[in-house]
């Protein structure tokens, strides 16, 4: 049920942003989801459908996910490498003095609202 909890936070933030911008209906929400964020995109969109349709402002609103590949930086040799393939250990020099550069984002990138010019 992890993703459902996240969905409630997204809904809260989106509603707030919509109100601030005087928006009545949102047609899509675009998320940036990091590859190692522990969020499973399909679960997130399933939970979204269920919860968003209960909100007047978000009825039928689509949740679009733009994945962000995880990249780790190595302090040993200064190079970057893909986290999922190699984990904590640098494939270039074998050092474990490494840290996640990006890939754990759970971020609302933007919302899309219909315009009747």
């Amino acid at each position: 049920m992890h993703e459902l909890g996240i969905v409630f936070y997204i809904i809260r933030d989106v509603k707030k942003a919509a109100q601030e911008n005087g928006v009545e209906h949102v047609s899509a929400v675009v998320m940036n989801i990091g590859e190692v964020s522990t969020i499973i995109p399909e679960y997130l969109t399933d939970c979204w459908r269920w919860a968003a349709d209960k909100e007047e402002m978000l009825k039928g609103c689509e949740l679009k996910i733009e994945p962000i590949p995880a990249v780790t930086h190595c302090d040993g040799c200064g190079k970057d490498y893909p986290t999922v393939a190699h984990g904590k250990k640098c494939p270039h020099c074998g050092s474990e003095q490494t840290w996640l550069l990006r890939g754990n984002e759970v971020e609302i990138k933007e919302i899309v609202v219909p315009q009747n010019k």
Partner: protein
């Protein structure tokens, strides 16, 4: 093509909660209340460990407990009966974790809370049994502790890195059943320290109380430090 407008948000889903948690910590600091967030998988021994720990500390400091169960008040009652300290149930409304707002709400429901001279020195939050979500939501606690029990296996720090990276102390519980499992204590410590070099690891057996003194002393010291 439909005419649309795009409004940029660029905001982490955790941002509001992180801010609320920092504010709560600030308030607790002013009042001298130490909040411990205790996490683990279901059944690894949070309630049993709390009872043992509280009974070692309750004559020295004022303690209260908040039990976050999805839908029952079994643990809250158990703690109350076994220790006599105030223990309340927090309703998570089906959520898999507590956030700062829910924690603050819980604190305000404690009877002998926030009236200065009577503030508890220590409030312990037993979080929902789960190694994923509670790690992502800062509750506003001063320190995070988790319990890993022997039957769960020594590889858990590899599988749930975030949880282990945010915990100040990792209690290894159910040491009495060590002979029946292939749990490797040295490997476990190594994996924990890979995720979090600063984590304190304390092996205990909550059933018999062995090792609980070490955890209780760690906690007492933290409570005293917080008041300075």
């Amino acid at each position: 093509m439909e005419n649309v407008k795009i409004i940029e948000i660029k905001k982490s889903v955790f941002e509001d909660n992180d801010r609320a948690a920092d504010a709560l910590r600030g308030e607790l600091k002013k009042k001298g209340v130490f909040l411990l967030n205790l996490m683990s998988s279901p059944g690894s021994g949070k309630t049993t460990t709390l009872i043992q720990t509280i009974n070692r500390l309750k004559d020295k400091i004022r303690i209260a407990v908040m039990e976050a169960d999805i839908d029952s008040d079994v643990d809250a009652i158990k703690i109350k009966e076994a220790t006599g300290v105030e223990s309340i149930q927090l309703h998570t409304g089906g959520m898999c974790h507590l956030d700062a707002e829910m924690t603050e709400q819980g604190l305000s429901n404690l009877q002998f809370t926030m009236h200065n001279s009577q503030c508890p020195d220590l409030v312990i939050l037993e979080n929902v049994g789960n190694l994923v979500c509670p790690a992502e939501f800062d509750t506003g606690a001063v320190k995070n502790a988790m319990i890993l029990s022997v039957p769960e296996g020594h590889d858990k720090p590899l599988k749930y890195p975030l949880m282990f990276s945010i915990c100040d102390v990792v209690v290894i519980n159910k040491m009495d059943v060590l002979p029946y499992f292939d749990f490797d204590m040295e490997k476990c410590k190594e994996y924990i320290h890979m995720r979090n070099p600063k984590a304190t690891v304390i092996p205990i057996c909550a059933r018999t109380g062995e090792g609980v003194d070490v955890f209780a002393n760690w906690l007492l010291k933290e409570v005293e430090n917080w008041k300075e």
